[in-house]
Symmetry: none
DNA sequence: CATTCAAAAGTCAGGAATGGTCAAGGTCAA
DNA sequence: TTGACCTTGACCATTCCTGACTTTTGAATG
């Protein structure tokens, strides 16, 4: 198992155990405990605990420093899907698109089946005949179109 | 025996041995073991493990990368969705695609939400940047990919 | 106070370990 | 002979991991 997975799993565990949905850690300490260099913690956080995946991260340097990771709930009141549609630009990478869909599913804003369908439509697997240069544009277009279709 | 056959056979074997219908492999490793260049693995996968043939494929690059092949077609008794996947050719018009989805929904083979999502993904509305000449190919590819994702 | 120091966390570039794409050429059966 | 299928290799893209260097912060010191 990769270091990255171990670290991510550890943080997820912390989030689950915390009653306030907040995990606070000390970077050097955690790196020591998990046997990696400190900057690897940053790598994991920036690659797996992104806003698209539903997390926000705060930190402080210096004495008494920390890294705090919070799972954020999408606002259910004002059509969170619309919010995403508006936030997505003209391009989107496969990884980012996937993160958005998985987050929506985790928050139960879309069904498992809808997630499956969308994931398959956003994967490069379906774009064999499409030139590389326009795949990310197509993906963004499809994502927005599909999400819009789900807004009542 | 052709290399392609050897590779395909090997993967099929892996799928049979797997209890979850899923085979995960490392491209370079397999290429080494079977004595071919790595890209030949891609050729085999794109030519023989397609949605039409009842497979869906995911992969990840980079450290700890993999190729995962999942069999969605049931051994005996083909899923009704699989019939459609096989019946659709390399091209499909917007009207025909729409009719297929509406029919599946009417027969309660897919949910209303899944139908909505698929309809939006199959409409030309989402293909603004795609040259006219390849839209129907893209549509067919997406249709098959999405339907396959819904099986099992 | 202002300065200095130590203890955090952040950034970045590079290397290694993967898989992906494409175009050119080879093989073979019809 | 020709067209479909196969094979190869050069080049590209992504993900992970590390370490050197930078920045920020609070506390000790003068």
């Amino acid at each position: 198992m990769r270091l990255t997975d171990i670290i991510a799993e550890y943080i997820l565990q912390m989030l689950e155990l915390a009653d306030d949905g907040e995990a606070e850690l000390r970077r050097n300490e955690l790196a020591e405990e998990l046997g990696c260099v400190p900057s690897q913690i940053n790598y994991v956080i920036t690659s797996r605990f992104t806003p698209e995946q539903g997390y926000i991260v705060e930190s402080k340097r210096g004495g008494g420093g920390y890294i705090r990771i919070r799972r954020v709930k999408l606002e259910r009141g004002v059509s969170p899907l619309m919010h995403i549609v508006n936030a997505v630009g003209d391009d989107i990478s496969p990884v980012t698109a996937q993160a958005i869909i998985e987050n929506l599913e985790a928050q139960k804003l879309i069904s498992e089946n809808a997630a499956k369908v969308m994931l398959s439509a956003l994967s490069d697997q379906a774009y064999r005949d499409i030139p590389m240069e326009i795949r990310d544009r197509l993906r963004a277009s499809l994502l927005k179109q599909m999400l819009a279709a789900l807004i009542t």
